[in-house]
Amino acid sequence: MLSALLLTVMLVISFGNPGDSPFALEVQGVLAAVQKPVTRMGNILQRGTQGVFGFRSLVDENQALTRRIAELEEEILDLQLSRAELEELKTLTGALNYTAVQESKFKIASGIISMDGSSPFNIFTIDAGLRSGVVKEAVVVNELGLIGRVSEVGPRFGKVISVTDTNTNFSFRIYKSDTEHYLGIASGDGRGGLTGYMLDADARIALGDRLVTSGMGVYPAGLIIGTVSDIADNRETLLKTIDIEPAVDFDNLSTVLVIVTKDLL
């Protein structure tokens, strides 16, 4: 009874104050130090086993091609973003002291060292922390798109929470053409996916349309979020609500890229 009471008190405190305490960070640091070599050994063992069965070259080739596709997709999106917004940004540069997103960020590659596969949430620990330049609220992506953000950071590790796991809203944009694009708001749907709505009631969107971050809020512009998997009309708000299939396969994460924008430093 006493332990149940203590745990309930901890839970209430935790819900009221989601940020990790210094004690929790210490515990995470110790666990991460133990988990890191285990995960590394497991990864080496797995890659070695794949090599033995002759799949290693295929796996490497597949990874290289996946990376190349992701690079090309990013280039296409960059071009779309550039075309649509170049003129607007040019006029705003002087007035708002605007700095292009590409120039205002640096990236840190990192491996995943722990994750609870039995949990419904996609929360994991990466092997880069304050000493590598990772900061709280830094954006985490992989070659497929947006994963989430760093929620806590220790000297040698960072705790990442995915975009699908929170009620926190973030804005996205759907590009139909150079001149036609629509804004919307998305958040986690509690089922491992994303849900959202369009700000324009007349938005001409279709199943399969790709969503990218708009650049307003935490996430820099142009990161791939996912695709529209369902569209419905909300009779109360008169807006289109959508289900979003995340671009990232959260079941197969091994390495990630942490993007630290200058405003976080």
Partner: protein, 155 residues
């Protein structure tokens, strides 16, 4: 019922936490990996009624919450609830039968997941009941197979 050393219980739970949160969990099958701590709890309770069996599970839940949880205490409370039920029913179960252990872990999985979801639901977390229903069969399968295999190896 055999007497079990506390050190053995600590080692068993230590391995369970490492398996649950390290390399194996970064390569899940069909989106989930087994809840190794829950499997360890069921297997250990079958051979020992030492308080450390219950305490270890709750502590593991707390560690997992601290390192990878959205909120601290959810897993720990869910494990504690499983411990409470196990404490009542375990003495009437055959500790040597694999099928009994597998059946125990199956209902323990359902109990744990429902309590976990209920706690999050009460506090307004977005974890949806339909998502729980979709994950439950796979989790039961993973936990059942893990428990059966480990029990078979230990016999």
């Amino acid at each position: 019922m055999k007497r079990m050393r506390v050190s053995h219980i600590i080692v068993a739970y230590g391995m369970a936490v490492l398996l649950q949160t390290s390399w194996l969990s970064t390569y899940p099958l069909v989106g989930v990996t087994a809840n190794f701590v829950l499997c360890a709890l069921v297997l250990l309770r079958a051979v020992s009624s030492h308080p450390a069996v219950y305490g270890g599970a709750v502590l593991c839940g707390l560690l997992i919450d601290l390192s990878l949880g959205l909120y601290v205490g959810v897993s720990a409370l869910a494990y504690l609830s499983v411990c409470a039920v196990l404490h009542v029913v375990s003495d009437s179960l055959n500790p040597h039968n694999i099928l009994t252990s597998v059946a125990t872990v199956l209902w323990a999985t359902v109990w744990y997941e429902v309590v976990y979801w209920l706690i999050l639901f009460l506090f307004g977390s977005p974890y949806h009941g339909a998502y729980l229903a979709a994950r439950l069969p796979v989790l039961m399968l993973a936990n059942g197979v893990t428990t059966g295999v480990v029990k078979g190896m230990l016999r």
